[in-house]
Amino acid sequence: MKARIKVTLKNGVLDPQGKAIEGALGSLGFSGVASVRQGKLFEVELAETDPAKAKAALEEMSKKLLANTVIENYAVELDEK
């Protein structure tokens, strides 16, 4: 079973990398970019076939390692095929 975990910075957490990317887009001539926040995407392949169990395991992984919940949010997405 395949899954994606999206990790993004919480609102209010300063994102200097996002700011730099925003500036670079501006200097490339892309106008109207109000703001850019950057994050991470993890693609995970699991042996687990039960979606509920897989989801629970991915939540644990996110909390324990993939995201630092002091500054980051995470969202788990399962490919249910």
Partner: protein, 224 residues
């Protein structure tokens, strides 16, 4: 008076030799070299997590080392009241391990900063700063890309209110955008301290100054 100290080394640590040398000079006793794959610590008064780039800073700085085999033993030692000092990557690891609050984010200027800064002693009533005077300003080098201390407003208020900010960048030398110019913080109990600058590189005249020595002497005095 001599204390028993040890330095924890992870794959990618690179300041262990400086730290081992500084500890031996100051305590007069050979410190223990502790490998990350060990699961137990020797009997120590001070455990140091040194600087470097553990696991290549993959995922987040200190994130993977913080979940290493030795870390439950470090947490257990902290629980028992053993002094734990995290320098640079060691500070990042302590935050990721939850032994200190908050997190060290990418420097606000997005650049790796390697230079000398000024540190002000915000609280001289700690096991790590007692040989300094409150308000004293001293010289210390920094070398990091992720030293921008961040905690939520409530945590920050607690740290400030409880005197847990031990050191601040002084005289406009904040190199990373750290909130409230925070350079070093304590845990609630006061036996775990993390700081981004490198006092182990400021202990003998050859380093240009000996300003960092008092930090280690503070710990020696506190343990005695």
């Amino acid at each position: 008076m001599s204390i028993k100290s040890g330095v924890v080394v992870f794959p990618g640590s690179n300041r262990e030799r400086d730290m081992l040398s500084a500890l031996e000079k100051i305590t007069g006793k050979k410190p223990a070299y502790i490998w990350h794959a060990d699961t137990e610590l020797p009997d120590l008064d001070l455990v140091v997590l040194c600087g470097g780039f553990s696991y290549g800073d993959y995922l987040r700085t200190g994130a993977i080392a913080a979940r290493g085999h030795i870390m439950p033993a470090v947490a257990k030692a902290a629980d028992k009241g053993v002094r734990i000092l995290g320098i640079c990557n060691g500070f990042q690891i302590l935050c990721e391990a939850g032994l200190l609050p908050g997190v060290l984010m990418r420097n606000a200027g997005l650049k790796f900063v390697c230079k000398e800064v000024k540190l002000e002693v915000a609280n001289a009533d700690t096991d790590f700063t007692r040989k300094y005077k409150r308000g004293e300003v001293w010289r210390c080098p920094v070398a990091h890309g992720d030293g921008n201390y961040f905690a939520d407003a409530e945590t920050l208020k607690r740290l400030e209110g409880e005197g847990r900010v031990g050191l601040r960048y002084a005289e406009g030398t904040n190199p990373n955008g750290s909130q409230n110019d925070i350079a070093g913080i304590l845990n609630e109990r006061g036996n775990v301290f993390g700081m981004m600058p490198h006092p182990e590189n400021m202990i003998e005249p050859l380093n240009g100054a000996t300003d960092g020595r008092a930090l280690f002497e503070s710990i020696v005095e506190a343990v005695a």
